[in-house]
């Protein structure tokens, strides 16, 4: 998907900048292409500019500088109602004075579609989200999850090529949210539509997306498929924002190809993969995922450097065991172990040695 993005761009942001007050930039030089049929997620903390980008694409905000094109056509001057983009809002925005059927009928009516054709499309859209029996209800009579489905059906009923979703699952409880994630994903796959999805929930982003654009401070920090983003973060912001992460501060002792030797302040040496460090003596932040930390010598590669660790706490979480360790003079180093048959149960106070494959530890900018 990522490779195809450049060749057939369906949506493209070119050097887009956005300022609300003329003093500071909310979006700084955004370049992004989205290919047809792609599921792209804009992920980032609040205030990172991701929602502003979505609103510019929808036409509710105008870009201060730069060009946005949709299917090869510049759309900066096109008003929202002529863009033909479906949109799902955070609070669903179902019209409260209309029934579910009337809500779905609205986009078809404003397009001047005849009654029989409308009814057919409404029925199809409602069946698609398994809400066929609810056409005559008012939005207020529906549960959050049902409203969510209707909002989805309304955004899809007029067959848009592009659907934008602005944190659509934020108001649902965890279980429903996970269920809806799969439904949206399946709809995306079966309809072949292009989806731009905004969320601050990294789990949601990882589960659903073809590619994720991680936003911070008005810039895309990394644009990559979920696995790359999680396993090979480009910088310490991405590493810290996606998933749980152990950070060790140190200095580059030796740099050779795809191996870096990092000396910790306490004098110990660890292995890492250099990502955006250039030379020896440079400060670096080494990031290691808790589930990639090993404490059994048999699981570590030959000649791996190890660190002495003391178990301070073990938390039983059902599917995994979470051990909090004291490593290299600092508390809060986390190690996750699968709760398998015969898994070694650590006890607080126990002294162990931890290590990892060098490719799992990434030496990033501090």
């Amino acid at each position: 998907m990522a490779a195809a993005a450049q060749s057939d761009a369906f949506v493209a942001f070119e050097h887009v900048q956005k300022s609300y007050d003329g003093v500071s930039l909310v979006v700084k030089d955004l370049n992004l292409t989205i290919s047809k049929g792609e599921f792209l997620t804009m992920l980032g903390p609040s205030g990172s500019g991701k929602t502003t980008c979505l609103m510019m694409l929808a036409g509710f905000e105008t870009a201060t500088h730069g060009e946005i094109t949709l299917d090869g056509r510049p759309i900066n001057q096109v008003p929202p109602h002529k863009r033909g983009i479906g949109m799902v809002f955070q609070n669903y925005a179902l019209f409260p004075h209309m029934t579910v059927g009337e809500n779905l009928s609205f986009p078809l009516e404003v397009r001047g579609m005849g009654k029989s054709q409308r009814d057919e499309k409404i029925k199809r859209a409602l069946d698609m989200v398994q809400m066929g029996a609810f056409a005559n209800r008012r939005p207020a009579q529906l549960s959050g999850g049902q409203q969510q489905r209707i909002a989805l059906a309304r955004a899809l009923v007029f067959d848009p090529q592009l659907v934008l979703m602005d944190e659509p699952l934020g108001a649902l409880d965890k279980q429903l949210r996970e269920h809806m994630q799969f439904e949206i994903k399946h709809l995306h796959e079966s309809l072949g539509i292009t989806v731009v999805y905004v969320t601050h929930d990294q789990g949601e982003a990882l589960t659903m997306s073809d590619r994720i654009a991680v936003f911070n401070d008005g810039r895309i920090q990394q644009l990559a498929p979920p696995a790359d983003l999680y396993e090979r973060p480009d910088n310490s912001f991405v590493a810290g924002f996606i998933g749980e992460n152990n950070k060790l501060l140190g200095t580059i002792e030796d740099l050779s190809g795809d191996r870096a030797l990092v000396r910790l302040p306490t004098g110990e040496l660890i292995d890492a993969t250099p990502v955006n460090v250039r030379e020896k003596g440079q400060k670096t932040l080494v990031s290691i995922r808790p589930e990639r930390v090993e404490f059994k010598p048999s699981m570590m590669p030959e000649g791996a450097h190890t660190l002495d660790a003391v178990v301070t706490e073990v938390i039983y979480m059902g599917d995994i065991l979470r051990a909090v360790l004291r490593v290299a003079g600092q508390d809060g180093f986390v190690m996750k172990m699968r709760n398998t048959q015969g898994q070694t149960r650590l006890a607080p106070g126990e002294a162990i040695k931890v290590g990892w494959h060098p490719q799992d530890a990434r030496a990033l900018d501090p």
Partner: protein, 417 residues
């Protein structure tokens, strides 16, 4: 059955039946709740329900004649309407006049008859002055005092006044009067004032409400969409008139709008109008409309604002993204959601406008007077019963509208803030 039997056997820990224990516990809570609202209940009862009840009672009750002229009232009660008064009737009248002269109540009785038949009061006071000289045969004696005592209309008026309870005040309010034979007919066209003014008051109030709505809608929308700091400033400007005395506001409009006022002078100075054709915007209907719209505008803005403030902008955005133009979005999405506010504001402004009297009294001139000015007129004349009857008519009109609103929109949809 088994459930009932089991319930009947349930007792509290100390052996009392559960039901009576529950009732006892609830009685205490209910009594406390009642005592808490009691002061307000009494206050509302004393200052609202009782006065309105009294007003309604007064509109159908006036014992000025029946209490002071018991003998003739008794004769009238004994004889059906249309009976020509005989010597006994005149004797009873003379007897009553002697008593009224002693008690100095002839004016009161005359006032009551006067309401039904104008210019009767002087007949009573004139007769009372010579009451002591009246001697049999009374018919001749009274006719000698004033020939009007032979007029069947006077006797019909006394018949209607002889009962303390009467619908005469409502008849007058509907521009009706009694005929000599006890029938009812409309007063001559020249004297028909109440119904015309009643309808005009409702029409003017509707116009004022409509203008208020047109002016308030954009302002309320602006208030609801501006950032907080700016909206607060604007809100202060909206509320500013509330903090100024009604009289001050009305007089400033007089300064602005009168013939030699600021607006006219400016227009003349700019050469837009000629000096001899200055606009008359004061002391007429136009003045009443302008000033009342200004005074009642906040009552329209506030309910609208409170409704608009809670309509999330995402509805409009959703409509736009679904392909609606901004006009369609307004008409089909925004406007329907502001209906509770429009209803509340319109009802509030309309009811206030219908009962307004200071402003029309000050700036209305001859043709800008409203129904309430008539009520005030009768109150200053101490004709409480007539004022009460007119007030009751106004109240009925407002209640009818209220009922209509409830049927059409639903009172539970009303949102005042």
């Amino acid at each position: 059955m088994t459930d009932l039997a089991a319930n009947a056997l349930l007792t509290t820990a100390d052996g009392r039946p559960l039901k009576s224990a529950l009732a006892a516990a609830q009685v205490r809570a209910k009594r406390r709740a009642f005592l808490l609202v009691l002061p307000l209940l009494l206050f509302v009862l004393l200052t609202f329900v009782v006065p309105i009840g009294q007003m309604l009672h007064r509109s159908v009750y006036h014992d000025g004649f029946s209490a002071n002229a018991p003998a003739v009232s008794a004769w009238l009660a004994a004889h059906p309407a249309g009976t020509a008064p005989d010597e006994a009737a005149y004797a009873a009248l003379a007897e009553d006049f002697k008593a009224m002269k002693a008690a100095k109540t002839a004016g009161e009785a005359g006032t009551r008859v006067n309401y039904t038949l104008p210019e009767s009061r002087s007949l009573f006071t004139k007769t009372a002055r010579v009451a002591d000289d009246l001697a049999p045969p009374y018919r001749e004696a009274l006719l000698a005092v004033d020939a009007k005592w032979g007029d069947p209309l006077v006797w019909e008026a006394m018949r209607s006044a002889s009962s303390a309870y009467t619908s005469d005040f409502y008849l007058s309010g509907l521009d009706m009067e009694r005929t000599a034979d006890g029938g009812i007919e409309r007063v001559p066209p020249k004297e028909r004032i109440y119904v015309y003014l009643y309808l005009k008051t409702f029409a003017l109030s509707a116009l004022i409400t409509f203008i208020c709505l047109l002016l308030a809608f954009p302002v309320a929308h602006l208030l609801a969409t501006l950032p907080m700091a700016k909206a607060n400033l604007l809100m202060i400007l909206v509320l500013l008139p509330f903090w100024t005395s009604l009289l001050v506001r009305t007089t400033s409009w007089m300064v602005l709008l009168q013939g030699q006022g600021v607006v006219n002078n400016t227009l003349v100075a700019l050469g837009l109008i000629k000096d001899e054709s200055r606009l008359s915007m004061m002391y007429n209907q136009t003045g009443t409309i302008i000033v009342m719209v200004h005074i009642l505008l906040p009552f329209m803005i506030l309910p609208l604002y409170s409704v608009m403030r809670v309509i999330p902008p995402s509805y409009a955005r959703a409509a736009r993204s679904l392909g609606a133009t901004s006009w369609t979005t307004f008409r089909r999405i925004y406007l329907p959601q502001t209906l509770p506010g429009i209803g509340a504001g319109a009802l509030l402004v309309f009811i206030l406008a219908v009962g307004y009297y200071i402003t029309p009294a000050l700036v209305g001139g001859a043709d800008g007077q409203l129904f309430s000015n008539l009520i005030q007129f009768h109150m200053t004349k101490s004709n409480w019963s007539m004022a009460a009857a007119l007030s009751a008519m106004l109240l009925l009109g407002v209640l009818l509208l209220y009922w209509l609103y409830d049927r059409l929109v639903g009172i539970d949809k009303l949102k005042l803030g």
